[in-house]
Amino acid sequence: MRVRKLIARRIALMIFVLWGIITITFIVARVIPADPIGSILGPQAPPELVEKLRKEWGLDKPLYQQYFDYIINVLHGDFGKSIKTNRPVLEDLKQFFPATIELATFSLIIAVLIGVPLGILSALKKDSAIDYLSRMFALTGVSTPVFWLGLVLLYLFYYKIQIFPEPGRLSVGVQPPDPITGMILLDSLLRGKFDVFLDALKHIILPSIVLGFYNSAYIMRITRASVLEVISQEYVRMAIAKGLRRRKVILKHVFRNAMIPIVTVIGITYGSLLEGAVLTETIFAWPGLGRYATQAFLSLDYNAVVGATFLIALVYSLVNLVVDVLYIYIDPRTRGALEG
């Protein structure tokens, strides 16, 4: 029962946070810009057009009225039309979102492949040269501007030694499979088109390395800390004292217990991958949410800005919610802490 109550509380918090997200996006789109219409159309815009748009957006109404209308629209999934694509923002989001999910998931795999082994190695060889080098490597990852690393890798591996293809999701001329999920890797497998799958795989590797490297640092650090903590526990020392082989102790006693925080960190990382996607997608011409959001920010396409920001924040908080709930289930010790 206690668990259920905790989860209910966490979900209630989520609803409050959603309201907060809506309010902040409202402030960004409607309150801060002195003249949203003017900044989009420019100073030479014909007054009739400005007036028409003002009406269409409801900017002629008082601010509180705009705010309530805005909340109701967002709750209906109605973000209005994008000025740039001239389509409902929701349609755009549906189209661009799967590409981002695909990229983020693949990057997560790479981040885990880098972060977990390095963290374990670092912990087992604490304070050795290996430890410092691994930490340095992970810190370099988190310090590297992803937009720059993307450019450098493209220059090296696409222009110079052509082992990876051009930016984008597929090579020119390759037809994407009919969408089922919108994720090309998955769809091409489901449709049995292995040549398309291979082409898509080649395209996703470079951007995923860029994004995964950046996000591996945090996974590495938590893995290291977690393994270190378990190693110093009584039962591990006991196992070694009993004469069990070190290898066996590490595999059986250390890793199993060290995995709990690592799993939750992997969840949190997923959220931060969405953020890195904004910059990575711009470099790799990846038609995802990040690139859509950036273009919206640059062209002051406020409806699109709100839609994209809202969706990213929504997914980010949902992932955090799932992680928190998982945590409550996996590790009973946290229950007391969360209640306090």
Binding site: P33, P145, W148, L279
Partner: protein, 287 residues
């Protein structure tokens, strides 16, 4: 007999020595000190005027005359990087200072008073933490418009909530310690307790977080500059420079590569320093 000041000086020096002995700490100290010196003495050490267009020498490759080459307008890239360190460092230091102050006040009040004020303040931080940092910074920076000060405001809006959480956590841990109770018992005011007794306890985690975030904000600000939402050209901001060189990456690789390398080195320097500080001061941070 040593005075109180002398003893505290001694402890600080010990920590400094320990930091210098820490392999990553040493590299971090060297990088950050060199960067700060570079920013301070930019007019003296930069070989050219960062904005002078040498039109006869456009997109010149690295040479002894132009160590990092020139850009599309014939401006010396090394000089622009040196002047750019002023921009990046001032954004980072100012933004981290502003966020520390806001976070400190909110965290102290929230943790010390608890109750309804605490609940209210923490729910507000929940909302701000619900956004990925870059996305929130992008949203505010684009709404506020271009310019260095707007970038600082946007970054501060993003980061303060993390500090508030951090400080509150520390305050909650020590709020019921005996020496705080004792101070209360002898009639010390709330302000006095917060500043004389609690503040010294939060400086170590605050220092670690701030150092790490100087790295983080350099990266974030350059990302905004790269996307064209932060600092605008012709300001020699590193992210803007990477963005300007993007068109030439196939042949004139140096235009983007060197400014980006400096973003990496600067961010890494402060991250190494923060990481080492965490070891030396024995601070445990959640993130």
């Amino acid at each position: 007999m040593k005075t109180k000041e002398e003893i505290s000086m001694l402890i600080k020096n010990e920590k400094l020595i320990e930091l210098w002995r820490h392999p990553n700490g040493k590299i971090g100290i060297i990088i950050s000190v060199v960067l700060v010196l570079m920013a301070v003495f930019a007019p003296l050490i930069s070989p050219y005027d960062p904005n002078y267009p040498d039109t006869a020498n456009r997109l010149a490759p690295p040479s002894t005359k132009h160590l990092f080459g020139t850009d599309q307008l014939g401006r010396d890239i090394l000089s622009r990087i040196i002047w750019g360190s002023r921009i990046s460092l001032s954004i980072a230091f100012l933004a981290v200072f502003v966020t520390s102050v806001i976070g400190l006040v909110v965290g102290l009040v929230s943790g010390y008073y608890g109750g309804k004020i605490d609940i209210l303040l923490m729910r507000i931080t929940d909302i701000f933490m619900a956004f990925p940092r870059l996305v929130l910074a992008l949203a505010f920076a684009s709404a506020l418009g271009p310019g260095i000060y707007n970038v600082i405001i946007a970054i501060s809006i993003v980061y303060w909530s993390f500090y508030a959480r951090l400080i509150r956590g520390v305050v909650l841990q020590i709020r019921n310690e005996l020496y705080i109770q004792a101070a209360k018992a002898v009639g010390a005011s709330d302000l006095r307790i917060m500043f004389r007794h609690i503040l010294p306890m939060v400086t170590a985690p605050l220092l670690v977080q701030a150092t790490l975030d100087i790295g983080g904000t350099i990266l974030l600000a350059s990302g905004l500059g790269f996307l064209g939402i932060g600092v605008q050209p012709p300001t020699p901001e590193w992210g803007v420079m990477v963005s300007e060189g993007r068109r030439f990456i196939t042949h004139e690789w140096w235009v983007s590569t060197f400014p980006g390398l400096f973003i990496l080195i600067a961010t890494l320097g402060f991250n190494l320093l923060g990481d080492a500080l965490r070891d030396v001061l024995d601070v445990k941070l959640k993130r």
